[in-house]
Amino acid sequence: MPKKGPKIGPKRMTRYEKSRVVGARALQISMGAPILTRIDANLHDPIRIAELELLKRVLPITIRRKLPSGAFEDVALVDLLD
């Protein structure tokens, strides 16, 4: 049986979803949001930090995948990482 995955869109995150998530999170971090994972003390670039958080699956973010018909599906970020 095929693995369960999102009903709308690809099984994995698209490049646009990844950019969007990293960008949004990097903005938060740059404005002083608490970082959700342990990072190297020398790491100062908010974008790199956001990428790291994404890879470590600690971001509590949901992506809303929409269809032109108006139908949508909310997919947890971690379900799109493999």
Partner: protein
């Protein structure tokens, strides 16, 4: 027992079952599944190997798909447009495939995307059924049945006989033989022309058409004679209306007919024609006779042929997108003013395209709404556009954080 025979290879039956399963899952296109079916049979595969092959192919296919959010339309436009600029520099017209000329290159490409109703060089490739495709003589019979033959083409002279008040047609024996008709047939066809031309009498190869006098008329009116004369001269005796010329060409093992001028409907009804392969390059005609899906395919084929012929390598998916767009409504729409660009649902998008003020006034008069779903509208009002990263909505719920 040796160890080799112990190894279990999958049987063709098992492969088949797997493929049927795969098709039901609907994650791979039929074409890939068919190719798998063709290639898998000859190899000795273990079940694990078979699964691996299918898994790898599925993964490769998934990776090749375009990702949601991609600006496919803009990419397609550029990918067809750039080679198009090279085409202009090279050539406009290209001498024909066989003995008649065919519009190719940029003019033809424009013709296709404009969905012209009267392409400048309509042609058909008429394939023949098994009985007729082998011998030249049989092929010629079919060709004669397709090529339009008018009185003018088989007559030595067509004249107005003022003394008798009729039209005299002097048929040419050789010409008639060439076209596969005889004087009797000509007389019969002239008699069947509606509205009636008048009385048709035949004496060997001479046919006289005498228009009937109307009540009260003493002699035949000159204008009426002239009219009848034109009708007689242009009367269709044999073949399909619109098919100006037919060429027989050998294509591999079989004979194929190429026509100048099209009449797909008529040709498909002609005996000896292979209706499954015969095509026309007239997109509207295809849509009328074979349906919109066939028209889509013709758009793709014709555009691809034009580009290939010039040695331009354009990915077929760009062309497919254009063809899909043109046929999506079930009718053929051109790209441009009277088609896709002019029929956009958004007022702002239409106003951005052409005659801005008129569109805006018209929309305000009838109270049109704009849901701002498209790209253009959002550019106009200065919002993030729904494309790429702009098409993604995010929600953050810190409390839902998973501890791991």
């Amino acid at each position: 027992m040796n160890s080799v025979s112990k190894q279990k290879y999958v049987t063709n039956k098992q492969i088949e079952r797997k493929l049927v399963q795969l098709r039901k899952r609907d994650t791979l296109p039929t074409r890939l599944i068919e190719e798998l079916r063709k290639r898998l049979g000859d190899h000795k595969l273990t079940s694990a190997q078979l699964n691996r092959i299918i898994r790898e192919i599925s993964a490769a296919y998934d990776n090749s798909l375009v990702q949601p959010g991609e600006a496919v339309g803009a990419v397609a436009a550029q990918s067809i447009g750039e080679p198009g600029t090279q085409m202009t520099l090279k050539t406009f017209h290209f001498a024909g495939v066989a003995e008649f000329s065919l519009t190719l290159g940029l003019p033809r490409l424009i013709e296709i995307v404009d969905a012209r109703r009267n392409p400048s060089t309509p042609t058909m490739n008429v394939y023949l059924d098994e009985e007729h495709r082998a011998k030249e003589q049989h092929a010629r019979e079919v060709a004669q049945g397709i090529e339009q033959t008018r009185v003018e083409r088989i007559a030595q002279t067509v004249e107005i006989d003022l003394a008798e008040g009729g039209i005299v047609v002097e048929l040419d024996k050789d010409l008639m033989e060439n076209k596969g008709v005889n004087a009797e047939l000509v007389a019969e066809k002239l008699d069947n022309v509606r509205p009636n031309l008048g009385e048709v009498t035949r004496d060997k190869n001479r046919i006289i058409v005498t228009p009937e006098l109307r009540e009260g008329e003493e002699a035949m009116h000159m204008a009426k004679l002239q009219k009848t004369f034109d009708k007689v001269r242009d009367a269709l005796i044999k073949g399909q209306d619109g098919v100006k010329r037919v060429l027989i060409k050998k294509e591999g093992p079989e004979l194929v007919l190429y026509t100048e001028g099209t009449n797909l409907k008529g040709v498909l009804r002609t005996k000896g024609v292979d209706t499954t392969r015969t095509i026309s390059n007239h997109i509207h005609e295809i849509a009328e006779t074979l349906g919109i899906e066939a028209a889509r395919q013709v758009i793709i084929n014709e555009a691809k042929d034009v580009l290939d012929e010039q040695g331009l390598d354009v990915d077929i998916r760009h062309i497919m997108l254009v063809a899909d767009l043109m046929t999506a409504t079930g009718e053929i729409r051109q790209i441009g003013r009277h088609g896709i660009s002019g029929e956009q649902s958004s007022v702002l998008a239409r106003a951005a395209f052409e005659v801005t003020v008129r569109h805006l006034i018209q929309a305000s008069v009838i109270g049109e709404e704009d849901n701002l779903n498209g790209i253009t509208e959002n550019v106009i009002i200065g919002q993030a556009i729904p494309l790429g990263t702009g098409s993604i909505d995010l929600f953050m719920s810190p409390s839902r954080r998973k501890k791991k």
